[in-house]
Symmetry: C2
Subunit: 295 residues, 2 copies
């Protein structure tokens, strides 16, 4: 197992335990929504976003326990978005990560509430004094995450994605869609450490640039995997994007073009981190991992 | 027009303008989700929760512009909950406030996203420096609202409400359901002014007790209106609760019993405010209004 794989597994384990602790089961009918939140959040997955949070925190003098709480919140937000995106009225996906999607395992109403619950809980965790002693940092985390997740970020991107116009998007349009729908949360993950450390503008700029390249590379590879992958490998039905005549990076650039684009972006992402020296090695490895991954 | 009616209209107008300013329309396909958020938020309604925020702020030396932002966020959260509660998978309500509900006017996917967007935006507004200079207060507002809206509050209450068990609830059970589903947001509204003012524990205790009585009175009257009202008056189909064999305060106490209970609670709520003297008159008027309202 590579260092990166081992290190990602370690973070995934710690994030699992943190989420398990934050989302405790309760008795009675209210417990059902928490069970659904746990089902969606404790299912595994690569935990890429939490790994980015922990790796960006490691560039600075940030307490691990603080970073871990932020890592858990970004996963809550990511999982809420998957629950709602999978709903029949949205992408109508029966499967997620090789298991029934949340509305399929529970029911639609419970899945809607579980997503609402995760979104809300994420902000409660960030605003809690346990996340950082300094309330200015807690408020900044809340504001930055809300902007990344909201209408100027993920929700806005999903709106564009489900609108009928995607088949007409050009490269600029699909890059903008990606920047909102998946890029914004990746960017939050990359700068979370800098927020926790009250880092200077130079550090923020470097991490923002890294995140832009990484997020775009991630989406290009997602499109490649959708075009090339097998359902078994990626745990969800494949070819969905092509079936619906959606514009993708593969359609616009071809497979080789998309593959080259992803590699260029990963190289560019790594170069953004020069000022951090060796401390940024985990983030550089993530950029290569994102391009080389098979699922 | 009574003083209270005039005063509630004034607040409603200001909240409308604040929401209009916070939720600006945008061009392009992303604009659709914002249009849906505006449709749900700018539709009118009594704006009871914002009025409670402004009235609790007026007990203390709180800047009007700060209180108004908080008033707008509680309305965003309230409207998000109405959008999601009305969805076909939840209460399946075609109408809301005498107009098509949001999923009926737009579509289900847009309605889900509009709810998600309002929930997220509310936390962005609270965490923004424009809401208060002191980040400790902003973080406390976020934490308190998230706890009120989440699994230990509104989301938890809605989960109980849609579970099959409601027909078996006794008075304690239905009071607990109300405390979570509607009471928690009313409580946040009542203590928001105290949070903005960093008030002392005595003030918080008084407002918490007032909110407990008021919230319960509000729900008892809601059940009465559902049993007695006309669809035209309350702007949604009536008799829904009875049709579904749900336990309500009217079923458990009878109409006269429920009416007496609501009056007792309103009197008790008013008595909780003695320490604030005349400044609390608007909050006392609200308690009477909640009991006397016909819609």
């Amino acid at each position: 197992m590579s260092d990166l794989t081992q290190s990602m597994r370690d973070v995934a384990d710690r994030v699992y335990r943190q989420l398990d602790e934050l989302l405790r089961p309760v008795e009675g009918p209210r417990g059902r929504v928490i069970d659904a939140m746990r089902y969606a959040c404790l299912a595994g997955g690569k935990r890429l976003r939490p790994y980015l949070v922990m790796s960006s925190a490691n560039l600075f003098d940030v307490k691990q326990k603080n970073a871990l709480r932020v890592a858990a919140t970004i996963e809550m937000i990511h999982c809420y978005s998957l629950i709602h995106d999978d709903l029949p009225a949205m992408d109508d996906s029966d499967m997620r990560r090789g298991r029934p999607s949340t509305h399929n395992e529970f029911d639609e109403a419970t899945a809607i509430l579980a997503g609402d619950g995760l979104l809300t809980e994420a902000f409660a965790v960030l605003a809690d004094g346990a996340t950082h002693d300094d309330a200015t940092i807690r408020a900044r985390l809340v504001l930055t995450l809300a902007n990344a997740a909201g209408i100027g970020g993920m929700v806005g991107g999903q709106m564009i994605d489900i609108s009928g116009d995607r088949s007409n998007l050009d490269l600029a349009g699909i890059s903008e869609l990606q920047r909102l729908k998946t890029g914004a949360l990746i960017k939050f993950s990359c700068i979370a450490g800098a927020i926790l450390a009250s880092a200077d503008d130079t550090a923020f700029a470097a991490l923002n640039n890294y995140a832009d390249d990484l997020g775009l590379a991630f989406q290009v590879v997602d499109d490649l995997l959708d075009a090339e992958g097998t359902a078994e490998e990626i745990g969800k039905p494949i070819g969905q994007d092509a079936d619906r005549d959606k514009a993708t990076f593969v359609k616009l650039l071809g497979r080789d073009g998309a593959r080259n684009k992803a590699r260029e972006l990963a190289d560019s992402a790594c170069a953004r981190l020069d000022l951090f020296g060796d401390k940024a090695e985990p983030l550089r490895q993530v950029a290569q991992f994102v391009v080389d991954r098979r699922s």
